[in-house]
Point group: C2
Chain length 185, copies 2
Amino acid sequence: MNSRSFIFAGAEEGPWRVTGGAAITGAPLANAPYVKVVPASEGTATQRSSWLLRGTRSNERYATAGEKQSLAAIQPPLGRPEATCAAMIPLRKAEAWWDLPQDDRRGILEERSSHIAIGMKYLPAIARRLYHCRDLETAEPFDFITWFEFAPSASSAFDDLLSELRASVEWSYVEREVEVRLVLV
Amino acid sequence: MNSRSFIFAGAEEGPWRVTGGAAITGAPLANAPYVKVVPASEGTATQRSSWLLRGTRSNERYATAGEKQSLAAIQPPLGRPEATCAAMIPLRKAEAWWDLPQDDRRGILEERSSHIAIGMKYLPAIARRLYHCRDLETAEPFDFITWFEFAPSASSAFDDLLSELRASVEWSYVEREVEVRLVLV
C-alpha cells in the first residue's frame, strides 16, 4: 500500500471523540461517536465503521516557492501534546472547478480568495494536513479531507478561519462540505 | 469504482500486440505479448497478467487557460480508426521533483522544457492521454502512465517527440521510464 494513504473511520471507539459537527453544504455523514485515522495498510482496523473515507497526502498543487518557504517556517506538525482539539472537514468541489486550467484555479484560490494567506494567519496555532481523494481508484464521495489540530484556547480562532474561507470566491465551487469536531480521548 | 480509473495489463491476449519496447531509465517491465486497458471496475479481466499498472485520468496540473484552449482545438480523441499504433510509457519522477513548489515545477516543465509546446507540435497526428498513479492507495511503481495513439505514417514523428522530451531539463527528474510499443490486433 501507498504509505501516504490513510483511512478515516467513523467508529465505535477511537482516539478522537466526536463533539459536534454539521453538514455545511450537501449531505451529512452518518453519526459516529469516535473517529480514527489509520494507514491504508491497516484497513482491517476499520471494520464495523459507520463511514469510511480514504485520502492520500500529496505534493502541493498551488503554493509558490515563497509561500512554501513561509509555510515551512511556521507550520506545526500534527500530534502536539497541547493540540487536543481536532476537526475533520471532507469537501467536494464542482466539476466546473476541475475543468478550469491551472492558472485560473490558482487565481481563484489565492489571488481572489487568499486561501493560503488566510491559513497562514492562524499559524502556528492551527496545524493543518490535506489528504486527496478525487483520483483514488475507489469512488470517493469527497475530493479532499482536511484535518486540523489545535489547543482548546484556539477554538474560536479556528471558527474564524472557517468563516473566512467559507466567505471566499473559491468556496462558491464547493458542492459538499461536512464538518466533524473532535477532542482527544 | 472511480470511472476515471483504469488498469493496464501485460497479458496473454488483448487488443494491442507488443512490437517492441525498452527500459529507458531504471528497471524494465516483465515481458508480455499483449497489452489491454480496462476500467478499474473490470479488474477481474486482468487475472494471470505478467504485470498490472493502475492509473486515473485527472484534471490538468500545469496547462494555462491559453494552452488548454489551444490543445482543446486540435487534440484528437483516442480510438481513431487510422491510429493503429500505440505506445504506453509509464514514468516515475524523483522525490526532488515532487518537493518543488508548483511555480518551480511549472517553470521547469514549460518555460525551460517546453513540454506542452513540444506535444502541441505533433498534434493532431499523435493523440495522448495521461493517467496519474502516484496518489493511488496501492503502492504503484510509477507516477504516470502516458498512452499515445497514431497512424503508422506518424511513427517517426513519434520518435522525434520522445527524443525532444527526453532531452529536456524536466527529464533530468525522471528516475524510471519504460517504453512499450504496440499495434492494434
